[in-house]
């Protein structure tokens, strides 16, 4: 920059020194934020050492017509009704305890007394939400496969 073209430096006029100072500070701040963001991001898990969330639960023939089966290690119930199969979570939506099923009455949670109807809807609190229905399908090997990452509407039935 030639001396003649420089704007007069004074209070309120951005001088070169001021520009460098602001740009430098902003650069350092951006770098620090980047490092912190990377550190924070690394706390979010990428690998799960936990059971798969999509898994086979057995062959359709393992579930007699009209039965309700608790798959305890997966914490869910498999219903086989005349209209088809569906799957209801056994984990209480209140505080995560396992609910028990009573034939024809629905579900009851042993921890805090929530009860759910046969369709999983809340009939008595403290639970605020119904027991979720998980997606259930048929694998090529002919096994029933539940995907707990996907919930489906209460009307869902699998014809198998």
């Amino acid at each position: 920059m030639r001396p003649g073209t420089a704007a007069p430096a004074g209070p309120g006029t951005p001088s070169r020194r001021r520009f460098v100072s602001i740009a430098g500070t902003a650069g350092l701040a951006a770098g620090a934020l980047g490092i912190l963001a990377a550190l924070a991001r690394s706390v979010v898990p990428e690998v799960f050492y936990e059971p798969a969330r999509r898994f086979p639960v057995g062959r359709p023939a393992d579930f007699p017509p009209g039965s309700v089966t608790l798959v305890s290690e997966r914490r869910l119930f498999v219903f086989n009704t005349p209209e088809g199969f569906y799957c209801v979570s056994a984990v209480c939506t209140h505080l995560g305890c396992n609910v028990n099923h009573e034939e024809g009455k629905g579900f009851a949670c042993p921890c805090h007394g929530s009860t759910f109807g046969e369709d999983g809807s809340v009939s008595k609190g403290p639970a605020a939400w119904p027991l979720p229905r998980f997606a259930i399908g048929l694998s090529r090997r002919g096994e029933l496969v539940v995907d707990t990452r996907r919930t489906v509407a209460a009307s869902f039935r699998l014809k198998a």
Binding site: F48, E73, R75, L95, G96, C97, C111, H112
Partner: protein
């Protein structure tokens, strides 16, 4: 300095008439290089002793007699600190045996109970000291409130104290999972489910805390790292800030009309602190010898005990969550913490400072006492009066 004089007098040997630590200090060049001021005898040495020691210089050189009265502070802050020290020491030894793996954690608890020399005693001491710390920190907060000690200029240190209370709860909660028994597993299931009720952030915080979707290996390792490294370091830093601010804010609070007489901190304060340390260690020892820490069967996600309860200090919240998730999980805890933080900034006229239950502060004290008692009441109900299916039971009929 006095130790120069014998040399100046020539070959005359140092008289050894006094005996004890004083003469040992004078005689030994190594000891003298560590403790420069010698055994504090004169008033000047007593002042110098407090200033020249890294540990002691946290204290003032002289303290008002009014704050030394046990009936004023009840020593609760100091007891909390010493419990933290006991927990650090016992925790370090426990770490030599504990393996934070779902296949090994429960077995290392059994090792501690049956194979490690004094393992059961260590575990008991750690557990009871942790429970005691939650209670004593809470009582310390009540003491500070009822004596108006949180008022200007100590507002910020009160906020630091609220942070220390939350850290204490977090430390206790993260430690609760580590034994990997049914008690631990379901208490943390219930506890982290309460976390998830927090709107927007709750499910995410739970997910990050567990390192996944359910309590498994990732959760155990995260709780372990939080419990053994992250939270204790944060606690140590915040404790240092808390102590430093006590000094910077003008020492412990005292009433304007209280005696202005001061005594040297050595030995009046130092000995009293030593006495509190001895009492704390003795009490933890006694508890550890008398009562064994519980250990149930190994954690089993398929079997929910009935009832499943959070750690006792969260049973008040769990009781409230029973009435409504939003109320107990979100509204009440948020309101309580926010109220505690803004409290000293709302009450801008420091009146009745340094006096228990000062008449001019009756309204503030009454409101605080009501809230504290309500919290204690729901905790007692959740702990003793709730049985299977969270139904009402009378503890003496069980």
């Amino acid at each position: 300095m006095s130790e120069e004089r014998p040399a100046a007098r020539g070959a005359a040997p140092e008289p050894r008439a006094e005996g004890g630590a004083g003469s040992l200090l004078r005689a030994n060049a190594v000891l003298r290089s560590i403790f420069r001021t010698g055994w504090p005898r004169s008033r000047q040495q007593r002042l110098a002793a407090m200033l020249s020691s890294l540990v002691l210089h946290v204290h003032p050189t002289r303290v008002r007699v009014s704050v030394l009265r046990p009936s004023y502070t009840l020593g609760l802050g100091l007891i909390s600190f010493f419990l933290f020290v006991v927990l650090t020491v016992t925790g370090l030894v426990l770490m030599l045996y504990y393996v934070p793996h779902t296949q090994a954690a429960y077995r290392s608890m059994k090792d501690l109970q049956y194979a490690v020399a004094f393992g059961m005693f260590l575990r008991n001491a750690h557990r009871w000291a942790a429970h005691a710390m939650v209670a004593v920190v809470f009582l310390h907060m009540c003491r500070v409130f009822f004596t108006g000690a949180y008022l200007r200029p100590r507002e910020f240190n009160w906020v630091v104290g609220v942070g220390l209370l939350l850290l204490t709860l977090a430390l206790s909660f993260t430690g609760y999972l580590l034994p990997w028994d049914q008690l631990a597993y379901w208490a943390i299931t219930v506890g982290t489910s309460i976390v998830a009720y927090f709107p927007l952030l709750g499910p995410q915080v739970r997910y990050l805390l567990l390192g996944g979707h359910e309590i498994g290996q990732a959760a155990l390792l995260r709780f372990y790292v939080l419990h053994c490294i992250v939270l204790p370091l944060a606690m140590a830093g915040l404790v240092a800030l808390h102590f430093w601010r006590v000094r910077k804010d003008g020492g412990l609070s005292a009433a304007p009309h209280a005696s202005q007489r001061r005594v040297t901190a050595w030995p009046h304060l130092v000995l009293r602190e030593l006495l509190v340390l001895v009492l704390v260690v003795a009490a933890v020892n006694a508890l550890a010898l008398l009562f064994d820490a519980p250990l149930e069967e190994i954690a089993d996600a398929t079997r929910t005990p009935n009832p499943a309860k959070a750690p006792w200090y969260f049973l008040g919240l769990q009781e409230l969550v029973h009435y409504g998730a939003l109320l107990g999980g979100v509204v009440v805890p948020t309101a309580l913490v926010l109220a505690l933080v803004v409290l000293p900034y709302l009450d801008t006229r420091p009146r009745g400072v340094g006096v228990w239950f000062a008449r001019e502060r009756w309204l503030a004290n009454a409101v605080f006492a009501a809230v504290a008692l309500a919290l204690v009441a729901v905790t007692v109900i959740g702990t003793f009066f709730r049985g299977p299916n969270w139904a009402w039971v009378l503890p003496w009929t069980r």
